[in-house]
């Protein structure tokens, strides 16, 4: 792996941890746990 790949990997992990801490991961869980009316063309 090159320097750029390692850098993006580290950033990705930091973003994921930040997302878990700021609640955006819970947003994904909440959105995915309910039927998305827009996605199925009804909303």
């Amino acid at each position: 792996m090159g320097r750029l790949q390692v850098l993006i990997l580290i950033l990705a992990v930091i973003f994921i941890i930040a997302g878990i801490l700021n609640g955006s991961a819970l947003d994904v869980l909440f959105k995915a746990s309910n039927i998305c009316m827009e996605c199925i063309g009804l909303g």
């Binding site: 792996m1 790949q5 992990v13 930040a18 955006s24 991961a25 039927i35």
Partner: protein, 279 residues
């Protein structure tokens, strides 16, 4: 790696994302904690069998929630998948890619080959990414791609509506559904005569992963020392690539067999502690 091996991996990943098969019988979607995880490929979270979230739906939802907090989680997930796999996901791990591959196997009178026009049309997915995935949620407060185009969501709705438990949804069918249904039919017909129409011209997730295609860890790689520029790989490829591994390449590996000089191979994961670039 053979075509058969790729098909098996595509089927396995589709089953893995849609492991809640009971949902097809009950008509209810899975609501467990696994939905915290985003699948790498396009797979609607409203599919009754889906056990994971859709990265594109989650990205649009994060943009809709920007007033509350930044969607660091989905940005991290997309960056993680992008740098590890890039568009390898499109070729190997996307259920809708598998459906398109199967549709193209249907015999038809003629097949549309790649050309300068299709190469130009490949830029359409970047417009869709910017306008429907980014601008529409931010300025019109709607998940534009999911709402107006996504054929995977339409397939999910068909699976939901077909179940007698969801007969109440039938009363809600309207213009939006009709519009998306026509898009699904048109795309399915187009995929029979034009290889991976959706991936090549429409998919915003493929457009995002394509941006990582130069640096992704897994995928095909061209050995410039062995390459004699015969272009056999480009002629074999059914996608709009200019060279192996560019942003349109889905790393399917079909070109490996076409190369008479063994110049194309699958990258292997290796950690170089000297941080020398391996691309």
């Amino acid at each position: 790696m053979g075509k058969f091996k790729r098909k098996i991996i595509q089927v396995c990943s589709a089953l893995l994302y849609n492991a809640y098969l009971k949902g097809f019988i009950t008509g209810r979607i899975y609501r467990g904690d696994l939905k915290f995880i985003c699948a790498p490929g396009l797979n609607c979270y409203s599919c009754p069998a889906a056990v994971t979230a859709c990265p594109l739906g989650a990205l649009q939802n994060a943009l809709l929630s920007l007033n509350y907090h930044i969607g660091w989680y989905i940005l991290g997930i997309i960056a993680l998948y992008g740098v590890i796999f890039g568009r390898f996901i499109c070729g190997w791990l996307c259920p809708f890619g598998l459906i398109q591959d199967l549709l193209y196997k249907i015999k038809s009178g003629f097949k549309i080959k790649k050309s300068k026009f299709t190469r130009w049309l490949a830029y359409l997915k970047y417009f869709i990414l910017i306008y429907l995935v980014i601008i529409t949620p931010l300025y019109y407060a709607a998940p534009g791609f999911c709402k107006y185009i996504c054929p995977v969501g339409t397939l999910s709705s068909l699976a939901l509506i077909a179940n007698p438990a969801n007969h109440n949804l039938l009363n809600m069918l309207g213009f939006l559904f009709a519009n998306k249904f026509i898009i699904l039919i048109a795309l399915s017909l187009a995929c029979i005569i034009c290889y991976r129409t959706f991936c090549r011209f429409i998919c915003p997730l493929g457009a995002i992963y394509g941006l990582f295609n130069k640096i992704n860890i897994l995928g095909v790689k061209l050995d410039n020392n062995k390459c004699v520029n015969c272009n056999a790989c480009i002629k074999t490829c059914k996608l709009d690539i200019k060279h192996v591994g560019d942003r349109e390449c889905i790393h399917c590996g079909e070109c490996i067999k076409s190369c008479g000089y063994d110049a194309i191979y699958f990258r292997k994961l290796k950690l170089n502690l000297n941080f020398k670039q391996d691309i």
